[in-house]
Subunit: 338 residues, 2 copies
Amino acid sequence: MVVFWQMDEALKEIGEFGLIDRIKEDTINDAATVVQGIGDDAAILLPTIRHLQLLSTDMLVENVHFDLTTTTPWQLGYKAIAVNISDIAAMGGIPRHIVISLALPKDFGFDFVDNLYQGMKEICREFKVNIVGGDTVSSPHGLIINVAVVGEVEPACLTKRSGARPGDIVAVTGFLGNSGGGLAVLSQADWEEQGFAWSLVTRHLTPRPQVQAGQALARIGVSSMNDISDGLSSEANELAAASKVGIRLYKKAIPLSEDLLRAADWLGKSALDYALYGGEDYQLIFTVSPEKVGRLNKANLGVCFSNIGEVIEGSGVVLVDADGAEEKLEPKGYNHFR
Amino acid sequence: MVVFWQMDEALKEIGEFGLIDRIKEDTINDAATVVQGIGDDAAILLPTIRHLQLLSTDMLVENVHFDLTTTTPWQLGYKAIAVNISDIAAMGGIPRHIVISLALPKDFGFDFVDNLYQGMKEICREFKVNIVGGDTVSSPHGLIINVAVVGEVEPACLTKRSGARPGDIVAVTGFLGNSGGGLAVLSQADWEEQGFAWSLVTRHLTPRPQVQAGQALARIGVSSMNDISDGLSSEANELAAASKVGIRLYKKAIPLSEDLLRAADWLGKSALDYALYGGEDYQLIFTVSPEKVGRLNKANLGVCFSNIGEVIEGSGVVLVDADGAEEKLEPKGYNHFR
């Protein structure tokens, strides 16, 4: 157990409006884009001229997406926003505004909600995102968090999943599998004693969306991009399907961290499987034409990147091992109804 | 029990992506404002020039906000969108785009989800709103629906809660209390045999957001506006607090329908209480200066309206009866943590 917090009766006492007053503080991090935030039927926002708008939403459900025995409310708040911002990053966009819906069990205390919002406010500050509204309701069973995010993108920077062309290089930011490895590690009673475990658990509980990299890659003119929320296998397949191409990935090239390799060893599992199927890394997968690949080294991504494969004619994704043997990579990331 | 539906195993078979394909059809009702809807990390939208943007979100939780033994999935889908569109209407805005998050218990069938979306798509067609994205996840306990809506408003039409001035007239659209009465009626076994019950139940299960009235009132230049989601007492108090004024409401002037009066009689309850505290009418309360009140009769609101009171100096809301006796009206609408 990472942390303990006190549940109390305060929430019942203050009611929804008292909670809103408490939440309202420190919610505007870029005042130039907001006419009015929390407090009316809807937030009033000022769109940036000559920009397209991006809109996305994600829902996190207790005991499906998170486990309150292994995450602090602060970490959970941070992550709930991070996964949404990541969707904007994946389009080459700038995250601007979010609205947050919470379904709270009645016995959750003030400290819990306060800490949850502190985590949310921390990441919003970091990425200059405004919290402009929300809905707080009671839940008969477990905590549910929904975040919707509005972003903006210059039309020239807009990057979809569907632009990959045969001959393009496939690359990813950062290391893959750390989050999945972190989740696996958390299920072990003595994980806190393992030095390698902490970086993985941190990546799992507080993933960093690749906003800077997304914008820098968009400016370079990468041909397609996707965030890696459901594991490399699933995301590479989505990219291939959207672009109507095939993708060949080189097993040896998939970036695995030292800590993940050690954790996999300790767990008796395959580190590669965490990268392929673990999900929640929130790194970016992208494709870039050979003419533009040189620009990658000069770009200020704020994160390392690795070439891991190439776009080919056809469909689907194949994984090539060191001997040249190919296996088809099925899109079996985290899928909620299987 | 209004309706029965079949649960089946199909959802488990098709998984999240199969469901998305099914949902995607007939989601764009105003193509001019959408570059790309469902299918990428975020929707890509085209803001209207010289308009402000509105953003709001609402979450509906099974057995808190709805009861699947008294609503059909079609009605529930319709209502989930209606309550969000109503927030845009209350600002004088045009609803444009929504994203929908669903947490679905694993045993909910294809028919259920299909019917839920048919209700959502029906109201979106009616109001030319685009469904541009969402998130579908599994739920260990009960159905949760979250909708976030993006709207637009011309700066000159923007109407907040905070503009009421002493001397203004207070008015509402439509009848109040029908939804609360409908909810009460639904708890009676033999409601279907009562002729007066059907209009109330319909208003409760499928409320119509007052988009046309909201825009027409904004064009007239009403001084403040709010949608009546939590009962007149709560909303009038919100308006008074936001505008830093008092409000005097005349009991006799509050518009109660014939059907509600009959239902209240049948239930042995006060019809007025449903109007004051029942909530979910999604009519509009607004204030207008005496000079502009004449314009109301010429405006095309698409709904009747009633003058129910006046804005005064001070704070809070008082209810005045036929004898001139005043009582303070506390904001005790539906409040989730009380």
